[in-house]
Symmetry: C2
Subunit: 418 residues, 2 copies
Amino acid sequence: MQPDPAALHAAAVRIMARCDELARYSSLATGIERVYLSPEHARVNRVAARWMREVGLDTWQDEAGNQCGHLPGRDPDAPSLLLGSHLDTVRDAGRFDGILGVLMAIEVVRALGPRWRTAPIGLDVVAFWDEEGARFGTALLGSSAMAGLWKPEWWDLTDEHGTTLRTAFHEFGLDPGRIGAAARPAHTLAGYLEAHIEQGPDLDRGNAPLGVVTSIASARRFAVTIEGEARHAGGTRYEDRRDALLGASEVALAVERLCRAQHHIVGTVGRLETFPGAVNVVPGEARLTVDLRGEHDDHRDRVWRDISTELDQIAGRRGLRWSATELHEAPAVWCDGLLQDVVRAGIEDTGARDVPTMFSRAGHDAMAIGAVTGVGMLFLRNPDGISHHPAESVSLADVETGLTALTATVEHLAREAA
Amino acid sequence: MQPDPAALHAAAVRIMARCDELARYSSLATGIERVYLSPEHARVNRVAARWMREVGLDTWQDEAGNQCGHLPGRDPDAPSLLLGSHLDTVRDAGRFDGILGVLMAIEVVRALGPRWRTAPIGLDVVAFWDEEGARFGTALLGSSAMAGLWKPEWWDLTDEHGTTLRTAFHEFGLDPGRIGAAARPAHTLAGYLEAHIEQGPDLDRGNAPLGVVTSIASARRFAVTIEGEARHAGGTRYEDRRDALLGASEVALAVERLCRAQHHIVGTVGRLETFPGAVNVVPGEARLTVDLRGEHDDHRDRVWRDISTELDQIAGRRGLRWSATELHEAPAVWCDGLLQDVVRAGIEDTGARDVPTMFSRAGHDAMAIGAVTGVGMLFLRNPDGISHHPAESVSLADVETGLTALTATVEHLAREAA
């Protein structure tokens, strides 16, 4: 069916306005931050639920805090196609990462809802929480719960204030004992489709508004602690120092060097802290995070082994000790072949030719959901590839084109399922 | 006069017990931290004032929050010899740095007080606050106020919670408008004497309990901000990154390399923070401190110029910007010749021969007070040179020997002044 150009334009304008509106729900006075199980989480879920009901979805918040909506097709027991993304953010975030995909999913339901009663499958929208892992260091918590991948040891993860995930569940009004009920069995799902800004510059450089994702990066995250000895900065000669920060600085530079030496691996030290952290004390301890992404699990693992070897050498040379805790591990996830095909067909319906295909260096909820159902992703052009930053952007025209493609993709899929 | 061995031993035991007692006044649940204008500052001043009054001193808290005590000699208008050190600490501090010198000064008054009515000069004890600069980044605040060196721009210094020094004064019950009254005119002072643990291993390695300080390090402290661009850790290729932490890591290593290349210069990056500081975001900003100490001002300044040049190069290579704010500058301070001689004579009175003389890499209140009166310092052996650390220590025997020497030094000075 040809989309109504006026309705489509109105939908894209509404999406942009709602991205602006959600940006106001933040724990920061200036800038955006919405973390898992925070007051902003509860408020934004209420807003998203209202928008979902407005397009005809039955709504509920699941046992992991994900906001869900369901529209049945002709058979209430048929599996559902899941459309969604996430509403949590990193600190000082942009306004589109995740949010855009949820709002586009709602607009797809608005466009197709009136005719969905005859569809062979149901249509669900999900707004995941804690894709980013900004509060507890472990990412994909909400989508892992839905995929049935929740790990009991996560209950003891703590945030920067020492609050455990278990306590945060109680404080938010969720029951940790019911987390299993958030899991969606595979037979209830007909696939997962997510639209997302690229978080990289490739579409922008190729002058293409949309791309098909072939796979999502293999990732590992570590918290590394380096211990030396805190001593007086003035009175302690260099030969008597065991400076944890100098060791950590060498590690940060080694992560860059070792990753650059490998094809398609990126590594980031995003956080580094020193203790006691006084201007006149030689740092006795440094804590840093290491985030590794690669197209292939084995390359990623080889780089971590190389980093570990380097840590041993640095620690030996400087009289330090080190230890690492793995915060997150996700194998590379390959998008479903059929879903790649229908996403491409949806993009071609917008008039595009030579549709770019790409591997996603960034992680996405699709990585977790991929454990229970086929996943497909549509990327939208992200000017300059700036993401996780207030300057993150996407154009109104690209959102309009993306919405056309996503709607067409869902229609193709409904036909395939018939 | 020969000291009474039993009284001397009792005094040393009391000093050690009081170091333990003061260690309980802390803002930390475990470990010691007492910063300027904190509740612990007020509480510890009350305790110190009680101990001062117990040995016959008239006490007051001055307009900068320093706890003072005065014992007149035969002429109430004669200048006073000032004995003291500081009661503030770094975070997770030891229990002797500064505290020991204040408690030893009180015991000197206890020993000499009964005979001081005939002395040609007065005897003052002062417990300074904010020698360390742990709260506002700028050190020697209390002693600078007493030396008349207070700078109006300090009122706008902020602590980690954004509280200005001005506000902290009000909250503590001090009037910023009266800070000038804390200044002691030069003609009211007959010199300043401070006993302190060495904060370095030289006396310990030389098997000497006590040493004479010849000069105190020239020091400069800077807060350096490095700005890059926060971007998504997965989606951003290395060639598109402007990673502030990698720049900061190179700077930390350059500070070490450039200082080691210079004789008698030590440089420390004690604090490094990343912003936004998320595991999956390329750091857009890094803030670090640089602390430089040297025996000579020109060597210290040359190293800072070399570090600045290195910062330019690193920033140019990585697409970063940098800026630095000077937090503290103190020229090398040479101890007064007469005071060095009497400190040596005092140490020789304990039976020591070949008394070590040494340059202090650590800063001390004597640096500020040196602007208005001659200063002298006595160092006590510090096992392994561990300071600014809970394992900081000094032996009871050395405290007893040090107290003998300090008391004898004051007696020598009183005779010189006669």
